[in-house]
């Protein structure tokens, strides 16, 4: 059993509390941007701002810090994005900071992306291959998945040499595993099962007196 110390070092897989908060704020943001008709722009601004925060950890720490007053944070936000982003997005970031939820921005971005994808009939898929593949193959896979799922599929590619060959596509919680590793496992199970069956049918065929 892992000790508490070992547990402390293990990376958190997923925070459902933060995910729930993200969904609440994402719903509010998308509702507002739909009213003003600039959903696409707000989504781009959200992506861009998240990217900025990930590249500037000090800015992120400042906005998340409870020791810095909201007035100071508002000033920083105005300096950073006022005039460069829409009013809806600017106000959204300020509300997030005022409520002490700046640390949920990535969860908000993820939830907003999922809600926006669902609203526009789009699905994101992750394709894993043993070696890097070209854009042509990614587009082919995206087209084929679109035919199967009946939605627009956006494919994100990643490399994992452990699969040896073939490809693994994950769409939501469904995994389509055509990797060489998976097929080798299936062959192994089938071969062992068949050997067990044959041995049980006629042990004398496999045994000889030493």
């Amino acid at each position: 059993m892992n000790t508490a110390e070992e547990n402390g070092k293990q990376k958190t897989v997923f925070d459902t509390d933060r995910q729930h908060l993200g969904e609440v704020y994402a719903k509010a943001l998308l509702g507002l941007s739909q009213k003003s008709g600039n959903v696409g722009q707000v989504m781009d601004e959200l992506d861009s701002f998240s990217q900025v925060l990930s590249e500037l950890p000090k800015l992120r720490a400042t906005l998340e810090s409870p020791r810095i007053s909201f007035v100071d944070k508002e000033e920083i936000i105005d300096k950073a994005i006022k005039g460069k982003a829409s009013t809806e997005f600017l106000n959204f970031v300020k509300v997030l900071c005022r409520n002490g939820r700046a640390d949920c921005l990535s969860a908000v971005r993820q939830a907003a992306q999922e809600m926006h994808d669902e609203a526009t009939g789009r699905v994101r898929a992750t394709m894993t291959t043993a070696i890097a593949v070209d854009q042509d193959l990614q587009d082919k896979v995206a087209r084929r998945l679109s035919e199967v799922l009946g939605k627009t599929v956006v494919v994100h590619s990643q490399v994992n040499p452990a699969i040896i060959g073939g490809l693994v596509v994950r769409v939501g919680d469904t995994v389509y595993d055509g990797s060489v590793t998976s097929q080798l496992k299936q062959v192994r199970v089938a071969a062992i099962g068949r050997a067990n069956q044959e041995i049980r049918k006629g042990l004398e065929r496999f045994v000889s007196d030493a």
């Binding site: 919680d173 469904t174 995994v175 389509y176 595993d177 055509g178 299936q186 062959v187 496999f206």
Partner: protein, 316 residues
């Protein structure tokens, strides 16, 4: 005696030649928390209540609680081998056990895995563990005796085929002895017997099996064992598993005697499953759940332990 490697190799080669590759399509989730025989999993959006899932290491689980953002799964195996971040796959089937003649004379666990060292259970048929029992209108009245072989019982409080009988008494008064005598007395009657040991000491169960073997009763008896050291989910499903195996013969028109020893321990196991599922990650301050099993020290997650209030409004 020597195994012929060439023969085994030829069988494997034949299997590889005939192998038809197929894409493996599976629904997956990720373990968020695990402890005390329960796992909380994110994902598995299409999983149904009671559906079997598989953890790494071929450990089986059962989807118990379908919550908004996660699935509560009871682990029918060693939960200490499961870690946060492990991938869980749905098996798209309800929990089923092997049934048929292959289980007669065997000692098995509630999942149908053999415990007697006599090889695997080779059965082509399975039955779901949780089924709706026939209603009152579909049942015939009890009209045939089921002799226990104990004169006092058969004379004063006879038991019939299709009847349920409770054996109640203080500890060490002979409750199990009455049940075992009843099983032994079914020799040459065509009645198949099932002894379900729930939460018992393994040494006690071994003693019971020894008595049955000595009396020749193991020829028509199946022993389903979920001992005191077994995970509580396994203890919970043991009576259901035994019933499924017995009902296979019942629906074929044969008679079966099934002994549950004992259902009190199954109730304790079920309560433990329910309390841990509800209490491990929904602990509220000043609630009774908090005092019973608020946060188990064995619950492993990277998040620090803390009591959380159940939100009554949308958080902002």
């Amino acid at each position: 005696m020597k195994f012929s490697a060439d023969e085994i190799a030829s069988v494997i080669q034949q299997e590889i030649d005939q192998y038809d590759s197929q894409i493996d399509v599976r629904e997956v989730g990720t373990v968020l928390e695990v402890g005390d025989g329960i796992a909380r999993v994110h994902g598995l959006t299409g999983v149904a209540a009671g559906e079997m899932v598989e953890f790494p290491g071929n450990i089986i689980g059962l989807a118990f609680n379908l919550e908004e953002n996660s699935v509560g799964i009871i682990i029918l195996g060693d939960y200490l081998k499961i870690n946060e971040g492990d991938e869980v796959r749905a098996l798209k089937s309800l929990l089923s056990v092997p049934v048929g003649d292959a289980v007669i004379g065997r000692v098995i666990d509630p999942l149908g895995n053999p415990l007697d060292g006599k090889g695997p259970i080779n059965s082509d048929e399975t039955r779901p563990v949780e089924v709706i029992a026939p209603g009152v209108a579909e049942r015939r009245g009890v009209h045939e005796p089921m002799q226990t072989g104990i004169k006092a019982v058969d004379a004063m409080t006879p038991v019939g085929r299709g009847q349920r009988e409770l054996i109640i008494g203080d500890r060490k008064t002979g409750k199990t002895a009455i049940a075992i005598d009843a099983i032994i007395n079914q020799k040459d009657t065509g009645v198949k017997c099932f002894y379900v040991a729930v939460g018992q000491k393994d040494s006690s169960v071994a003693g019971v099996i020894g008595v049955l073997e000595e009396a020749g009763a193991m020829d028509y008896t199946t022993v389903i064992v979920s001992g005191a050291s077994a995970p509580s989910p396994l203890q919970y499903i043991a009576p259901y598993a035994g019933t499924a195996m017995a009902e296979h013969f019942m629906w074929q028109g044969q008679h079966c005697l099934i002994v549950y020893d004992d259902l009190s321990k199954q109730a304790v196991a079920y309560r433990e499953c329910s309390t841990v599922t509800a209490g491990c990650w929904n602990a509220r301050p000043n609630s009774t759940t908090n005092s019973v099993a608020a946060r188990s020290p064995h619950c492993r997650s990277s998040k620090p332990s803390k009591a959380r209030s159940r939100p009554t409004f949308q958080p902002t």
